[in-house]
């Protein structure tokens, strides 16, 4: 079977040209209208995504700051680590989340912007 035959075969038997449902356009426009109404609330006006991003960035900065502060004295460093371990662990998790958010943003933009 050559390429031309394969093409003809597909075009003939596998989903030859169909028409989408007549009300597809209306359905999309209706959904957009509904979405607009839902989004138009007090909370939707807040840039929640940016706030969470900046929040996580701040936490990361503070985490690094506290770790560096504890560095000079070896004993204090260990003590500090034990006391602050839960906090630092949270910072670590938040840092990972931050990285995920940033990469998410980056790939969304990269995929859809042409």
């Amino acid at each position: 079977m050559n390429d031309a035959k394969l093409k003809t075969l597909l075009k003939t038997f596998y989903f030859p040209k169909l028409s989408s449902s007549k009300n597809l356009k209306e359905a999309v426009l209706r959904q957009l209208e509904t979405q607009k109404q839902i989004e138009n609330t007090v909370f939707s006006t807040l840039p929640l995504r940016s706030i969470s991003l900046w929040g996580v960035a701040l936490c990361t900065f503070l985490g690094i700051f506290f770790i560096l502060k504890a560095l000079p004295n070896e004993f204090l460093k260990r003590l500090d680590f034990l006391i602050n371990f839960p906090v630092e662990y949270s910072f670590l998790v938040l840092s990972a989340l931050f990285a995920v958010f940033v990469s998410d943003q980056f790939f969304i933009k990269k995929r859809n912007v042409l």
Partner: protein, 193 residues
């Protein structure tokens, strides 16, 4: 500004593209009219399911509306919407875990079991045979094949439409064609009775 209903093959002109980027509803309605059948047809061939294709097509247009300001106009509008259609279709299938099973099978490159009786294949049976063969293909190979077959695009154009490199397109398309030919070869005489 008012816009007339667009015929099937009409494209948006430069003024309309500007209005589209600004999210004007009237021109967006025309945009849907221009692309809905093209997107729907290719998506249904990709997912092999009418209801899913309807849903994905709607999602594609909603996504287009949400992201219209990001369209920079460096590529054709059709390239942009086709990439969104491919990403939305993939995401849809992944979320529903529908393709996971098929993908797993596809890696093993299974072969279609020949039906016991295939002397008189009906049109529907023929379609199902091809559908099974299509499902064996990997998602990206299937999409490349659809663009090659139904959109009549060249290798270079497919590379632009998908974002794959030219050599990657050639490999994927070659694999897809070989796989389909291999699967359909035993039945080829029955397709042209």
């Amino acid at each position: 500004m008012s816009y007339s209903e667009a015929p099937q093959k009409m494209e948006l002109n430069s003024n309309e593209i500007v209005d589209f980027k600004n999210g004007k509803k009237a021109v967006f309605a025309k945009f849907i009219e221009v692309y809905k059948d093209r997107i729907y047809n290719n998506v249904i061939r990709f997912v092999c399911n009418q209801n899913d294709a309807e849903e994905i097509t709607q999602r594609v247009f909603i996504k287009c509306y949400q992201e219209c300001s990001k369209f920079r106009g460096e590529a054709k509008l059709s390239v942009w919407i086709f990439r969104i259609a491919y990403n939305e279709s993939l995401n849809f299938l992944k979320k529903r875990n529908k393709w996971v099973f098929d993908e797993a099978i596809s890696h093993k490159r299974r072969t279609i079991q020949a039906p016991i009786v295939f002397e008189n294949l009906e049109r529907q049976d023929k379609k199902e045979l091809i559908e099974k063969a299509m499902r064996i293909l990997k998602a990206d190979e299937r999409w490349v094949l659809i663009l090659w077959c139904y959109e009549d695009l060249s290798y270079n154009e497919i590379a632009v439409y998908t974002g794959f490199t030219l050599s990657n397109v050639k490999i994927k398309l070659h694999r897809a064609k070989q796989q389909l030919k291999q699967e359909l070869e035993p039945f080829k005489n029955h397709f042209y009775e």
